[in-house]
Symmetry: C2
């Protein structure tokens, strides 16, 4: 076995340049409770792009380095340097999740039991040819499941399941989801259909609405339509949804959702109150497709909350038992409910080409890249 392997690293330099490069790093030796995974597939998720390219101005992106060890450089606006001061000068490995084969294991029984198995891994640094992790961080895939099928077994599946679990834990009865035609959104739609959870899908284009309807979605509203507020209010009235997960973050969408939820609650009130309804309405922001500020009109009474939602924080709160139950379901339904689809497969070096970046960097719904580190 080789003692050096390739890894993608993202480095913010003092001269206000972000440098994303392919580097050679030593292959680690697993400790007693660890395994060494030969990474065979790792998706590029929106959540990876933030660490890859931070707040760099990607219109300035240029290719440097060599064909074997390519580098992409891009300028970072002065205003963004302060926000990223914490990562200055550190070559940060990237890649939240992936899958591959366990090729070496520590002495512990749990580690040895994984030797030769195909496993899904969560925990960063997966845009690497080899990744050493604790045995407990691995999700062993069922016999016959490929690394490509298991590459996205954590971020999207656990996030989608986490939304439904959050709904249950916090006493809501139905869900709203924005950017709902995404890979994650389609997954959530399948879970909700299977579990009988009413789901309001908000999309931005008519063709996305059509796609979701084809996939069986019952409530789909288009935020670009003139009738959006009326359509959303009607869907909220039918479903009783008082909880929304928003991938967009910026702009007025969260405010509009809270306002429409409140309008439905006020319809059902017996008497007027200038403080609005006492129906509790929650929007969680779990993404940042729009970095602009969030604007709230506060025309939705006082029984509301807007907050951040992050998978690791949720899992900590959910506890080990709930998490294991969620992971068993992911393994069982990996090629159905939790199947991901990729529009392109690239090597580590190809991922650092300007051509590939121009496509996956746009975060367009329906576009999803898979990195194959062994190519």
């Amino acid at each position: 076995m080789t003692d050096k392997a390739l890894q993608i690293q993202s480095l913010l330099r003092e001269d206000q340049v972000l440098e994303v490069r392919l580097a050679e790093v030593p292959v680690p030796t697993p400790a007693a409770d660890e395994v060494l995974v030969r990474v065979e597939a790792a998706p590029i998720n929106p959540s990876d792009l933030g660490l890859l390219f931070g707040a760099a101005d990607m219109s300035t992106a240029r290719a440097t380095g060599t064909a074997e060890l390519p580098v992409i450089e891009a300028d970072v606006p002065a205003s963004a340097m302060h926000m990223m001061a914490g990562r200055l000068g550190q070559a940060l490995p990237v890649g939240n999740e992936g899958a591959g084969t366990v090729v070496a294991a520590g002495d512990d029984g749990a580690a040895q039991a994984l030797l030769g198995r195909t496993v899904g891994v969560f925990g960063g640094e997966l845009y690497s040819q080899y990744r050493c992790v604790k045995a407990s961080q691995c999700l062993p895939l069922h016999e016959g499941t490929t690394a490509e099928q298991g590459a996205s077994c954590f971020v999207n599946p656990m996030t989608a399941l986490g939304m439904v679990e959050t709904m249950t834990m916090e006493g809501h009865k139905a869900l709203v989801h924005t950017a709902a035609a995404s890979n994650l959104g389609q997954m959530l739609n399948r879970i909700c259909l299977a579990d009988g959870v009413p789901l309001v899908n908000i999309v931005r284009k008519a063709e996305q609405a059509a796609l979701l309807r084809e996939l069986g979605a019952r409530h789909v509203v288009n935020s670009s339509a003139d009738s959006f507020v009326d359509d959303l209010t009607a869907a909220l009235r039918e479903t009783g949804a008082t909880l929304a997960f928003d991938a967009i973050g910026g702009g007025r969408l969260a405010s509009t959702i809270l306002g429409c939820m409140e309008a439905v609650a006020v319809e059902q009130m017996g008497a007027y109150s200038r403080y609005g309804s006492d129906v509790f309405k929650q929007v969680y922001v779990y993404g940042a497709l729009d970095f602009s500020p969030t604007t709230l009109n506060r025309n939705f009474g006082f029984a509301w909350a807007l907050g951040g939602w992050l998978l690791p924080n949720f899992l900590q709160r959910a506890g080990g038992e709930r998490m294991q139950r969620m992971q068993r379901r992911v393994a069982d339904e990996l090629t159905s409910t939790f199947a991901s689809h990729y529009t392109a497969r690239v090597s580590l070096a190809e991922a650092l080409s300007l051509e590939a970046l121009a496509v996956y960097g746009r975060q367009a719904t329906g576009q999803k890249f898979l990195i194959s580190p062994q190519r």
Copy 2:
């Protein structure tokens, strides 16, 4: 005893005019579990102004009616009519709290026990000469306490105590308060000094900062100062506050508070994370001194929440035992910790004069009116 009495009512008319009038209404007879209170003092709180004048354009205010039964009329912008549709055509009594003497009581023992007592009352319609309420809604004041001393025994005291209780219930260690020189803010400052709770007071003027410092406040920052962000960050570092109560609502203040809390949390992190710290930061909006939209920059990671906070909703969550403990403390410390100060005393008719409205309608810090319905 008279069978008719005066009451202030607020009516939104179909012709887009808000009409606030003095009306004669029958004096009710208490049911078995009720008492009839002769209202002797009722404050004009910011929370009353919303129901009194709704979203009317007060620059159009004009006096109509008679000297005995005055009326103030004001135009309502078309855009605001929709929001207030729920109150159209209803003559709504006003006045969240007040105090007076129990002059009649139902047959139940609890009601009879209050006969002749001076009590504080919460529950609306207190801008009336008589108010019939359940005995359980009364806070019996200690012997020798006057109605004027007890008039504000609910909204501000229970809100200020509720902030400290919320801090304890939700696991925070210190508080931030905006519009901190207000009557409520001074009360909160006294509670926090007595209880050893670190409190960061945010004010908008240098003289308000000086006033709070005179009153013993240890952490006072002025949001109009150029050094505001640095000053606030320093105060958050010293106190460890991760919970704020915001009376203002509109603009960027809530966002700035969350951003400064996150800056302190990030200082204490071992390693960089693009998701920010996992220190949970909460801002509750409990007022609307600024009706403009709330703008959030979201430069504070994912462990945050912004939400509405309303006293009745809090009390429901807090439970009866906690509420009774809070009320006992209010009664015990009504002339010290929970003392309110009034800058003017007016009759019901005088409250509906354009001269008085011009003063109390501005909601200026330091100005507080008391209505004396028996004058």
